[in-house]
Amino acid sequence: MADLVLSGLSRRFGADFAVSGVDLAVTDGEAVVLLGPSGCGKTTVMRMVAGIVTPDSGTVAIAGRDVTDLPPERRNVGLVFQSYALFPHMTVAGNVGFGLKMRGVRGREAADRVARVLDLVELSALAGRHPRQLSGGQQQRVALARALVTEPDILLLDEPLSNLDALLREQLREEIRALQRRLAVTMLYVTHDQKEAMAVADRVVVMSDGRIKEVGRPVDLYRRPRERFTAEFLGQTNIVAVVASAGRLTTAWGERLEAEAAVGDGPALVSVRPEDIVVVPDPDGPGEIRHVAFLGAEVEYHVALPGTRLRVRRSGIAAGLFAEGTRVAVAMPERVHALEARP
């Protein structure tokens, strides 16, 4: 168990920066998720923590010790890959026991520890199988067990669920979260899936173009993003142009809103989540429903308003399903969150 400090990490591949000036501190036992679109550098950061990629500049410190120049085998990290990266020529038990063997742990002790961690991931019955005889979910559990058995200082997971189908993905992400809590292991988790990130993380690190955009608790980043990128990447949102004047915000169709925090006068942007907007049929309303998508538990409407177009979500159809072409009145939440960026 240990904390992790990255300072000024940079790495080029060819002429391009894959990672540029990344600073991050992860406290002991914390679960931090690196979130961003593919190519944003999150995997490279993780690989520099693992020691698979060497940084051009900057340092990595685990438990207060500078490990930047240490090879992977001397960092005591556990690594889980999107591809599982199981050793095809070893059984499940052989895979899980590999790290112990490398540390000179043998015999009874090794067997006990392998059995315990297999129990933890509920795979005891499959200990004698080879990886190719397992399903994807089982394989990833083996990879997890293999990474945990050596009691690593840091558990690193690189898109661990991306090769699994949706249902399994949700199930396994809960398991990972529960395990991490139970073992109180420091975890760095890389994903491009915002739901997964929010479900797993104590804190989320949003990355783009090799840099950290924003760091925060999932709820904060979702409700009160500073950056437009964060707002748009974490779930769906409506970016609405407003004009601020003495703390009051006015939309293009004349609705007046209140800002959560002080906003300087002049044009501004606010992020309004689709589920926070209410529409009701009103022949004189400013909006018109242009598109309706029935999603089961929810209905999504695309509403045209003067100068903009809003995405609105309602749960259930208790209030009825509005047809395309219906004129509606729009109710924004009373208090909205203004982004730092201005139009």
Partner: protein, 280 residues
């Protein structure tokens, strides 16, 4: 990607070590061989002299003026080219069947295709020699081409089969639904997509044919005189004559070097080769 520290460092040592080993095992022998081709016959090169008593180009001049040697170069190039083309043409359907179609006795067919690589060339040569006398193919260029193809076809089939295996079935199915018959699928979809296999298999076939000795010697010599046969005559058959052997060696290496330069410009060939031969 894995490095024990900041990039650089130990990789320079690795590089230096590998190139030193290469120089010692390849460059030095070839340089000494080349010196032998330049020994002046008037002074010779006798122990304990470290260098020849004098240098002369007389061995080269004589070789390049010799119709036998020039003929040998042409014969070798012609035979190797035809062998490669023949192997490539014959290999495609069989490789496709092995790669994509399920059928009974597939394992047996695979082993049979492998067998010519397993049986020593001398044995194949002697057996084929007996047969070719009956067919009237002995001591003829077609006979040599056929017996060399026995050695190159298994390589080509295996390597091309591995390349075809890597082609997604969906592509073939898509082409069929778009109206291409089996033959056109083979020529327009499978063959172009299997080209890394053809590159690797073609290079290997050409080189194998070019340097082949035992089978050609038994079936073709003395009427068909490839470069390796001429080399044998200067080195072992009747006499070991270092300067002549050295000249023939370097004449033989020239096209080989060209082929290699060509090969290194064609990417992915190596991977296809390894895929074909990596598992028998």
């Amino acid at each position: 990607m894995i490095g024990a520290g900041r990039r650089g460092g130990s990789r320079a040592f690795l590089s230096a070590g590998l190139f030193a080993a290469l120089a010692l095992t390849l460059l030095v022998p070839l340089a000494v061989g080349f010196l032998w081709s330049l020994v002046d016959p008037r002074s010779g090169w006798f122990a304990p002299a470290l260098l020849p008593g004098g240098l002369a180009t007389v061995h080269w001049e004589r070789a390049l003026a010799s119709p036998r040697l020039v003929g040998g170069v042409l014969t070798s190039l012609f035979i190797s080219t035809v062998v490669t083309a023949l192997s490539a043409a014959i290999a495609l359907p069989t490789a496709y069947a092995l790669a994509k179609l399920p059928f009974r006795f597939k394992r047996a067919v695979e082993m049979f295709v492998l067998a010519p690589l397993i049986v020593p060339g001398l044995v194949v040569g002697i057996g084929v020699g007996i047969l070719f006398f009956r067919l009237g193919l002995a001591h003829s260029v077609p006979g040599v081409i056929l017996v060399q193809t026995v050695g190159t076809l298994p390589l080509m089939i295996r390597i091309v089969a591995a390349a075809i295996e890597a082609i997604p079935d969906d592509l073939i199915h898509a082409a069929r639904t778009l109206g291409a018959g089996p033959v056109r699928v083979g020529l327009l979809v499978v063959a172009p997509l299997a080209w890394p296999g053809y590159v690797a298999g073609g290079l290997l076939s050409f080189v194998t044919s070019f340097e082949e000795f035992e089978k050609t010697f038994i079936v073709g010599s003395p009427v068909v005189q490839t470069l390796t046969i001429l080399l044998w005559q200067n080195l072992g058959g009747q006499a070991i004559v270092f300067p002549n052997a050295a000249v023939v060696t370097f004449i033989l290496l020239t096209p080989v070097l060209l082929i290699f330069a060509l090969g290194s410009w064609l990417p992915r060939g190596e991977g296809a080769l390894a895929a074909g031969m990596g598992k028998l």
